[in-house]
């Protein structure tokens, strides 16, 4: 009941936000909130630390950029193409990585993502250091002009809303039950007859597909796909967002993404501009040392204790 009221307030805020706040900033925020939520699916609910999610985010960004700019596909189809590409890449990387656990899983995903990154540096269609610039935003459903930032905002909001619903449904599904059982006690899940690798692989593919959706949408918003999207910094940033907001909570990653993006944006225009990485680093340290459950996790714990 309370969460229903919370969601209604959040929806009302998201619908009216662009009247007050710069819509491009909001769209960036939504894209990264989606990216972090997708990442949380594999880290928070699957218990697997992927250090290569930039490959899916960046890969989808390039494919969508190419599909829209060179092939001239409609916007929706361009986004779907990028998302599907990330899903296929997720399946390939997942099949190799999923048998390993802990640090080995993180290392394999990092290595595979670096391979993808080097591919993007060398491949001609990515535009190398310049990236893919001037990607057309096009129209939504062939009528709504997305060049208009307000229209674009609501388009992104719909994508975010659908993906967010899919993620929370996945967590609260029969599949989600098996996934949390595997995260809690993998050997026991096996001894109950579950082929755990298949479940982990599905979680990984879902996570990478939705991370791709975030990357594709970001390309349309900024009309740009660049090497930054696929760089391992991006993989690290999404870990930070998820941990800061609250691992294994549905809203946590969005909150974490909001904090990081807001800080980056506002600090960058102030006197602390050169110190942004240091500030983020300090926040990370504080988060890991003092409030390990993340903002949302700690808040939930506080409410549980007080009432």
């Amino acid at each position: 009941m309370n969460s229903k009221i919370g969601y209604l307030i959040a929806i009302a805020l998201l619908l009216t936000a662009p009247l007050v706040i710069y819509p491009v900033f909001l769209m960036k925020l939504l894209c990264f909130a989606l990216f972090a939520s997708a990442f949380n699916l594999i880290l928070g609910y699957g218990g697997l630390l992927s250090f290569g999610h930039a490959a899916f985010f960046g890969g989808a960004a390039y494919v969508t950029g190419h599909a829209l700019k060179v092939w001239g596909l409609p916007t929706e189809l361009g986004i779907l193409t990028g998302t599907a590409a990330a899903g296929i890449l997720g399946l390939l990387i997942g099949m190799i990585a999923i048998r390993r656990q802990g640090i080995y899983f993180a290392m394999i995903t990092l290595a595979m993502a670096q391979m993808v990154y080097f591919l993007f540096i060398s491949a001609p269609f990515t535009g190398g250091e310049n990236g893919l610039q001037g990607v057309p935003r096009g129209t939504a459903l062939g009528i709504v002009d997305l060049q208009n930032d307000m229209n674009m905002y609501y388009f992104v909001l719909v994508i975010f809303g659908l993906a967010y619903f899919l993620i929370s449904r996945t967590v609260n599904s029969p599949f989600g039950q098996v996934l949390s059982a595997i995260r809690d006690n993998e050997a026991r899940a096996t001894s109950l007859g579950y082929d755990v690798d298949k479940y982990k692989l599905l979680a990984f593919v879902l996570s990478s597909t939705l991370a791709g959706l975030a990357g594709s949408t970001k390309t349309v918003v900024f009309q740009l796909a660049s090497l930054t999207d696929a760089h391992w910094h991006m993989s690290g940033e999404v870990v930070l967002m998820t941990l800061l907001g609250g691992l294994g909570t549905i809203v946590g990653p969005s909150v974490g993404a909001g904090i990081i993006i807001a800080l980056q944006n506002y600090l960058a225009s102030g006197p602390l501009a050169a110190w942004v990485p240091v500030v983020l680093g300090l926040i990370f340290v504080a988060c890991v040392l003092a409030f390990r459950r993340g903002v949302v996790g700690e808040l939930r714990e506080f409410l549980k204790k007080s009432f």
């Binding site: 609260n172 029969p174 599949f175 989600g176 098996v178 059982a181 096996t190 007859g193 599905l202």
Partner: protein
């Protein structure tokens, strides 16, 4: 049943070698249907290793394992579980962040065939709640259905583990030290529970508590340094001087 023969589980020459060390040495185990069969032996005798081999958490170096006359030596762990051989672990094997009801339901939900359905609501699993609660009642946990397992006592976790195992309707239950680390009351409780659930089933258990073994088990196999030392009912085994020696060391 009779057409499957007298033995539910058999091993022939089961051997596991780690680098330069034989943990399980040429073990021929014959577990009779509808019995409670104990595997005992001093620490490091290879009891848990045998369990891990039977459920394929470890790969045997040599030997053959048959279940109901079917060769399962090369089957995978999850496959063996689906055939009806369900094991427990030395430390309580529960899912701590889920409620007791959800723990049992995870074992039940595979039969719905929707375990990969990430688009379906978890509420579709409520159809299994009645059966889950029945199982919780059978181990005396009916009042704890909505309790998150991490907050439950050790004895109750072990009882929940048995309820979850029963949900799989196993033909053969492998219990690895079910009373380990328990106070006397809990031991009594679990002993009764094992006797209760053994009806119509076969149980193979590793157990240190000889009191439990003597009251529960029909057949006892004593392992020492990976090999079978002796086998028989409690009276036979406990009278064997070699068993005393294995446990106590050489008599002066």
């Amino acid at each position: 049943m009779s057409d499957k023969g007298q033995y539910i589980l058999q091993t022939q020459g089961l051997t596991k070698e780690f680098k330069g060390f034989t943990a399980v040495d040429d073990v021929n185990l014959n577990v009779k249907r509808h019995q409670i069969h104990a595997l005992i032996g001093p620490n490091g005798a290879g009891k848990t290793t045998v369990f891990n081999l039977l459920t394929k958490f470890l790969q045997p170096t040599r030997g053959k394992i048959t279940f109901n006359g079917r060769d399962i030596t090369s089957a995978k762990s999850a496959e063996i579980a689906r055939m009806g051989v369900i094991r427990s672990f030395q430390i309580s094997a529960v899912f701590p962040h889920m409620t007791a009801r959800e723990n049992v339901r995870v074992a039940l939900q595979r039969e719905l065939g929707t375990s990969f359905h990430f688009w379906r609501s978890v509420k579709t699993l409520n159809a299994l709640n009645a059966r889950a609660e029945e199982l919780l009642t059978s181990v005396g946990l009916e009042r704890f259905a909505d309790v998150v397992v991490a907050d439950m006592s050790y004895g109750r976790k072990r009882a929940l583990e048995i309820a979850t195992t029963l949900a799989m309707e196993p033909e053969l239950m492998l219990l690895d030290e079910p009373t380990q680390g328990m106070g006397r009351e809990d031991v009594e409780l679990i002993t009764q529970l094992i006797r209760k659930v053994s009806a119509g089933r076969t149980i193979l258990m590793v157990e240190h508590n000889l009191g439990v073994v003597s009251t529960l088990c029909d057949t006892i196999t004593v392992l020492q340094r990976g090999a079978i030392l002796t086998e028989g009912d409690y009276a036979t085994v406990s009278a064997d001087p070699r068993v005393k020696e294995a446990y106590m060391g050489k008599a002066a």
